[in-house]
């Protein structure tokens, strides 16, 4: 049974969350944000109407990368940083499969940064979830490429981090990923909405998920998680809608030339019309939004970009059929 002749697809079974829970005991620290993300994924899976055996979760190494063990699907816990490359091989070989990649800020942006951008720019149909806790959790607390300048709580920079951090969304954009989004571990509804969108996207998809490592980098995203302030500190991106935020939805973001600025609705005549209207097809806007956040701006969450281009696996298949049409099915004896 070669992948090219995979078993006929039976009518999608009706699943519940339980069907996506493996028998493996979960091994994350109590209180880890990874639990919430696992929960969200396991809730979204049954809603997709796709047979369970079609799902493959590929990961690298890290706390986040233990994820596949807890999904009752096919799972491959590979080596550090290489999941996107392994997943590319899987998807090119059998495009029928739904290939999800789970990675971390170290796995995906440090050792694996190159594989990430190349998988994205090739537009392989992979759903890449990057759990960003701004720390190396598994190795017990070294700073990561997303750790803030000056941060002193990491084991490898006791005098403070001196490396300018990397911006995952800007990077995905530079790599021309066709789907780019951001969500937060403890925003279950928002996270599930994003996951549903990514599940239906065809092409390279990148989702940054802010995740709390309560053991080595607790409260890294406090501005988004503390009840009191979070409404002031995040702005949700919705296609075709103006960028409004705040407890009373009283604030918004407008463009001054190419520079975004926070404005108060009503104040000196500012109305919704003055605000940026989100457009998932506008890369320049996505780039602008990728560079704003705490403390001067609310942090944008939601879908930055959603474009459709032919996927690499599609182009590979097309090329093979064209070659066959042109040269006839290959025959070694000839």
């Amino acid at each position: 049974m070669s992948p090219e002749t995979a078993p006929a697809k039976p009518a999608p079974a009706k699943y519940t969350k339980k069907d996506f829970q493996s028998d493996q005991e979960i091994r994350w620290c109590p209180g880890c944000g990874d639990y919430a993300i696992l929960n969200a994924v396991q809730q979204v899976m049954p809603t997709l109407g796709i047979n369970r055996e079609k799902f493959v979760f590929v990961s690298g190494i890290g706390c986040s990368s233990r994820f596949p063990y807890y999904m009752n699907t096919y799972g491959f816990h590979t080596i550090h940083g290489r999941a996107p490359a392994v997943a590319t091989g899987v998807k090119l070989t059998n495009p029928e499969l739904e290939v999800w990649v789970v990675t971390g800020d170290g796995d995906g942006l440090s050792i694996g940064g190159n594989h990430l951008i190349h998988a994205l720019r090739r537009n392989v149909d992979l759903k890449i979830l990057l759990f960003n806790n701004r720390i190396y959790g598994l190795t017990k607390g070294q700073y990561s490429p997303t750790t803030e300048l000056g941060k002193v709580n990491s084991k490898s920079a006791p005098f403070g981090v001196i490396d300018q951090p990397i911006n995952p969304i800007s990077l995905a954009l530079a790599a021309e990923a066709t789907f780019i989004a951001r969500s937060v571990d403890i925003y279950p509804k928002h996270l599930m909405d994003v996951l549903k969108r990514v599940a239906t996207h065809k092409g390279s998809a990148f989702v940054e998920i802010y995740q709390n490592c309560n053991v080595f980098n607790d409260k890294a995203f406090i501005q988004l998680t503390e009840k009191e302030i979070r409404d002031e500190q995040n702005v949700s991106l919705e296609h075709g809608k103006p960028l409004i935020f705040g407890k009373q939805k009283e604030k918004g973001i407008r463009l001054n030339g190419l520079r975004p600025e926070v404005v108060k609705l009503g104040e000196n005549g500012i109305t919704e019309k003055d605000l940026i209207v989100h457009d998932e097809k506008n890369a320049a806007l996505a780039y602008l939004l990728s560079r704003i956040g705490f403390p001067d701006f609310p942090t944008p969450i939601g879908i930055f970009r959603d474009e459709t281009f032919p996927t690499l696996e599609q182009r590979t298949r097309d090329q093979i059929s064209q070659a066959r049409a042109k040269l006839g099915e290959g025959d070694i004896d000839k």
Partner: protein, 627 residues
């Protein structure tokens, strides 16, 4: 018997020769490789046995006319069965002074030297760093020199053709080829036909090159230059269709054959590197075989994508050279741990580090065996000739899928670019590769092993009911869950090793060539096969008793290797490294084997090995049997 031995003979007759060795030399720009290849293909069609050795300069084209820019192509062809491109050319065709200077040192006295006198002007000599003109200063006094104004004659011949002067001059290599076709009595048709295809879109070039070739042929025939023409009768081959094949080409076709025989899609993940790139080029031209080629961003992505492909049910193959293998070690260990099929083609080149990228070497054996963290057993194969690359590739696919293990193929630059006549295989005659995927959830456990092969089941994503997880952390026996249990780890390390040993079931016993009562045994692996075989034949011709075995399986070794080694008082191991197989043999069998080692980026000369054998024979006589 070589041309010069005929030199004194009477005018214009046909001499019969057994073998001839010709070397073409000139600028990369002179089309030396093309000329050599054309001569080779025609010679294959004529039915001679042959062996070639293209010797490229450094990767980047050096300035025209300089010594480092010289490119060479050597071919030995014969009416008998031959094994090497020849130690010394009988004929040197030199397109410029640099080519002459670089190559004369390799010539025996009295060999034939054909030079293009048009490229011996002031400038040319200066570029080659000559203070005087070698055509006059006696440099060539020892040889039979034929001075031909090849460029001029070519341009004259092409007068009528509507192309630039420069383009006309470019055809001179085919004029030279015409001369040699006459001299060795080869048909021009194959090359004329080749022009038709090659320059389909440029009829004027078809005309130009054809005229040049014919002009050369006619010139040799007319001019009183050569006293005789030579005949090299066809060699006797087993029946079948033959073609000329280079190692990388044979390897690529072998991989496709493996895919067809197993019914698995072929996935080739690679990052370009000399001298492995041609495998990628070859495979990417064969998309109509359903081959998936993936040019990865680096070697690590190349091998990991191949592992992903195997996981999804393809035969995952990755190809590179030594420096690339040095990068793939960690990923290969993942394949060792998750026990998936993987074929790694290492087309060895001169090292360490960037080393000598365009030169050959066989110094990656230890890296293949041990170049990874912890206990990491893998299967290692090595082809002996260009054509053998085809069989080894199929064998690699068979073993990888049958035992669920990574398999190394250790080829090298010499095999990759060298050519030999190759009997076209019939797919129908090749044994199928049986692959059974796990399909039913019954009695399924990810690490439940087959009793015979110790292989775990291959359960493809997409198969209902077999959902399971694998990964690089130690796995529990049978269930394959993450396990930190000390005894399980010890058990799994040993079973991974045992599994590789089981492959011996698929390794044919060695057959000893030469004298069974010999005191000396030559043990080889990889590309030196030709030189060793020729040397053993020559030594025996000289009355020395010597035996030979050649290893195509380096891990595991053939079952009878130990017994054979113990039978001979003196074991010699020629390798193009500093003694790698030697070390493994000594450690495993405690035999006091001796190495014949050379790391010059070049194959062994037959004569070097013959001398070594004679030398050893003397010592053995001297002190009876060795200490």
């Amino acid at each position: 018997m070589t041309p010069q031995s005929q030199a004194e003979a009477a005018p214009r007759k046909r001499e019969v020769l057994e073998s001839v060795t010709i070397r073409f030399a000139g600028d990369s720009g002179d089309g030396v490789q093309i000329t050599g290849t054309q001569f080779t293909n025609t010679t294959a069609i004529v039915g001679n046995d042959l062996s070639t050795f293209p010797d490229f300069p450094a990767e980047i084209r050096a300035p025209a006319g300089t010594l480092p820019g010289v490119s060479g192509f050597q071919i030995q062809f014969s009416s008998k069965d031959i094994h090497t491109p020849g130690d010394q050319p009988d004929v040197l065709v030199a397109f410029n002074p640099a080519a002459l200077l670089v190559n004369t040192k390799d010539l025996a006295p009295n060999s034939v030297v054909i030079v293009n006198t048009d490229s011996f002007g002031e400038v040319d000599l200066k570029k080659a760093g000559c203070t005087s003109n070698p055509l006059e200063d006696g440099t060539l006094s020892a040889f039979q020199v034929f001075k031909i104004p090849i460029a001029d004659l070519t341009i004259k011949a092409l007068e009528a053709v509507p192309i630039s002067h420069k383009d006309k001059e470019r055809c001179k290599n085919f004029f030279a080829l015409g001369v040699l076709y006459w001299l060795y009595n080869r048909p021009m048709e194959p090359t004329l036909k080749w022009f038709q295809d090659k320059f389909k879109k440029k009829p004027e070039l078809v005309e130009a090159n054809s005229l040049a070739l014919k002009a050369g042929y006619a010139y040799a025939d007319a001019a009183e230059l050569f006293r005789s023409q030579y005949e090299i009768p066809p060699a006797k081959y087993a029946p079948g269709r033959y073609r000329n094949v280079m190692g990388n080409e044979a390897l690529a076709i072998g991989l496709i054959a493996g895919s067809k025989l197993s019914g698995l899609p072929l996935f080739y993940g690679s990052y370009p590197i000399t001298p492995a790139s041609d495998i990628l080029h070859e495979l990417s031209r064969h998309k109509n075989f359903g081959v998936i080629t993936f040019q990865a961003e680096d070697e690590i992505a190349a091998v990991t994508s191949a592992i992903g492909a195997s996981y999804a049910g393809a035969i995952g193959v990755t190809g590179t050279s030594g420096p690339g293998v040095a990068l793939k070690g960690e990923a290969i260990n993942l394949a060792v741990m998750v026990e998936l099929p993987l074929v790694i083609c290492d087309i060895q080149r001169g090292g360490p580090s960037t080393g000598l990228p365009t030169k050959t070497e066989q110094a990656d054996l230890m890296q293949a065996l041990f170049g990874r963290n912890s206990e990491s057993p893998v299967c290692v194969l090595a082809p002996a000739t260009p054509g053998d690359c085809f069989d080894i590739a199929i064998q690699a696919v068979r073993i990888a899928t049958k035992y669920m293990v990574p398999v190394f193929i250790l080829s090298d630059g010499y095999l990759a670019n060298g050519a030999e006549p190759w009997k076209l295989p019939k797919m129908a005659d090749l044994p199928r590769i049986e692959v059974k995927f796990q399909t039913s959830p019954e009695h399924f456990a990810p690490y439940l092993r087959d009793e015979v092969t110790l292989a775990r089941p291959w359960a493809l994503p997409g198969t209902p009911g077999l959902e399971h997880r694998i990964g690089g952390i130690e796995k529990s026996h049978i269930h394959g869950n993450v396990s930190y249990d000390p005894d399980n780890h010890d058990f799994m390390c040993r079973i991974r090793a045992a599994k590789i040993q089981r492959i011996v079931q698929d390794v044919p016993d060695l057959e000893v060539a030469g004298d069974s009562d010999a005191k000396i045994l030559m043990v080889g692996w990889g590309s030196p096969y030709g030189s060793i075989t020729a040397a053993v034949e020559e030594a025996r011709r000289r009355g020395i008793k010597v035996a030979q075995i050649h290893l195509r399986h380096l891990n595991p070794f053939p079952a009878n290797l130990g017994a054979i080694l113990k039978r001979y008082p003196r074991v010699l191991v020629p390798e193009l490294n500093l003694g790698q197989l030697l070390m493994v043999l000594r450690a495993k069998y405690l035999v006091d084997a001796r190495g014949l080692n050379k790391v010059q980026g070049k194959p062994f000369k037959v004569s070097e090995l013959v001398e070594a054998i004679e030398q050893e024979a003397k010592t053995l006589q001297g002190n009876g049997s060795p200490k």
